[in-house]
């Protein structure tokens, strides 16, 4: 279903990045002079496991069109097991959002290590493209926060 009301739609992407891997990965992609879309707003969290479901919903409420969570690869968590919990939690949450009829491509989780600068850039590129195709977030937005 295409709900793109303007051809020049630029999505807002909230990216929750773990401090130890993905945030460093974003940094690396920068030092390597790789570009990724400016639509992506990075929010640094100590661990992907810190991402409370409320953060994700709040991002959508405040105008995000897509939310992506990035953490260390399973097994590499700075806190040993944080991202394993993330994985279960986020799976269930995304499944619930899907159950409520929120478009699937608005949510994603990717594992990006500190050495994967190129992966970070390509993941963001791809995700932004996917969300752009979906158009503005209308099913999980707060009308009071809509940009005028």
């Amino acid at each position: 279903m295409q709900v793109n009301d303007s051809k020049n739609f630029e999505p807002v992407i909230a990216a929750f990045c773990c401090n130890w891997c993905s945030y460093a990965g974003a940094d690396l992609s920068g030092t390597n002079r790789l570009s990724y879309p400016t639509n992506v707003k990075i929010i640094r969290v100590p661990c992907s496991c810190r991402v409370n479901p409320m953060f994700i919903l709040r991002a959508f409420q405040r105008g995000a069109d897509g939310v992506i969570i990035c953490g260390c690869h399973p097994g590499d968590c700075h806190y040993t097991s944080g991202n394993y919990f993330t994985r279960r939690r986020i799976t269930l949450l995304y499944s619930m959002l899907d159950f409520l009829g929120i478009e699937r491509n608005r949510t994603r989780l990717e594992w990006v290590s500190a050495a994967e600068g190129a992966k970070f850039a390509s993941v963001m590129e791809q995700f932004t493209e996917d969300v752009r195709k979906l158009g503005p977030n209308r099913r999980l937005e707060d009308l009071r926060c809509r940009k005028k």
């Binding site: 409320m54 409420q61 394993y84 269930l92 619930m96 409520l100 099913r139 009071r144």
Partner: protein, 323 residues
């Protein structure tokens, strides 16, 4: 049944095993029973009731009661024992302070369903061989017993008591239930249809908080929705976003701890099928992390505070089912 319960309660009160009894109290019209604590044999004789309408789950009230002095006797239906066990697992109830008598479960009835058939002026309801004989001020009405079964009892998962000190009546078995059928039906709709379905249902929400307050899994000392500092405690229904946020968070917070007792849907004044949100989580947990029944025992780890290194990736939810 009711007489046996009363008698046993009075015996336990008399011999000092317990100093209070928790059960249900008669109402005005034969269907409006209230959970109540009885302190004497006279009170029990006068007000105690256990019939087709005693459908409320007493387990959550025991959190408060088990903090008081002395042992309390509680009559628990099979589904209530799951909630009780779950609370015990979370250290919310002092086991020593509760004496549990397991009683047979439902199916219990919902007076709202009877009324929705246009039957009104109800002054009493009797079950005569599974036909409800309803006394009303307009004369006698009849309807099949099973048509009035409450939503929470419609797809019963278990007739087995998972915890008790003694039983009245026989213990039952865990049942093969069709409780996920409705969830599956929704899963097979398109994303747009699902969205419309939930938008329609959730827009009825009046934010009365009955679903969260009655939930035996919701026992936080200070709920995030009651906390003005959380920024989301609005009682308002200003925007449809807030309803979704409230119901997603409510259901998510009890995921892995919800025993599927159905109280949320029973109490909803707007008849929103809230249990479907909880069941969706249960179904997902079962299919992705292995069969799990909250409250079934005291040892198994809650799937959300546990993990396995070869768990599926979240992308699985985007790959299966209908978009």
């Amino acid at each position: 049944m009711q007489e046996k319960m009363k008698q046993r309660a009075k015996e336990l009160l008399a011999d000092g095993t317990v100093n209070r009894v928790m059960g249900w109290k008669k109402g005005e019209f034969g269907y409006d029973t209230t959970p109540a604590v009885f302190r004497s044999a006279e009170e029990i004789d006068k007000y105690f009731v256990c019939d087709d309408f005693t459908n409320s789950n007493l387990s959550k009230l025991l959190v408060k009661e088990s903090k008081k002095d002395g042992v309390i006797l509680a009559f628990l239906k099979p589904c209530d024992t799951y909630s009780f066990n779950q609370l015990l697992k979370e250290h919310r109830i002092d086991r020593e302070k509760v004496y549990i008598i397991g009683i047979p479960g439902g199916p219990k009835l919902d007076a709202e369903i009877i009324k929705s058939k246009g039957i009104t002026g109800i002054t009493g309801v009797k079950n005569v061989n599974y036909t409800l004989v309803i006394d009303t001020i307009y004369g006698e009405e009849k309807m099949p017993f099973y048509e009035a079964v409450s939503v929470k009892c419609k797809s019963c998962k278990s007739k087995k008591h998972v915890i008790y000190d003694e039983l009245i009546g026989d213990d039952g078995d865990i049942l093969e239930s069709d409780r996920f059928d409705e969830v599956e039906k929704l899963e097979n709709m398109t994303s747009r249809e699902r969205f419309d379905f939930w938008q329609r249902e959730l827009s009825k929400c009046i934010r009365c908080n009955a679903c969260k307050n009655v939930c035996p899994a919701c026992t936080c000392e200070k709920c995030v929705f009651d906390n003005p500092k959380s920024g989301i405690e609005n009682k308002a229904v200003s925007d449809s976003f807030e309803e979704k946020l409230f119901h997603i968070i409510r259901a998510f917070h009890v995921a892995g701890r919800c025993t599927d007792c159905g109280e949320c849907s029973r109490v909803c004044p707007q008849n929103i099928p809230l249990h479907l949100l909880n069941r969706k989580f249960i179904k997902d947990i079962n299919s992705l992390y292995g069969e799990y029944q909250a409250g079934a025992d005291l040892d198994t780890k809650n799937p959300l505070t546990d993990y396995s290194t070869d768990d599926c990736e979240p992308s699985i939810v985007h790959e299966r089912g209908v978009e």
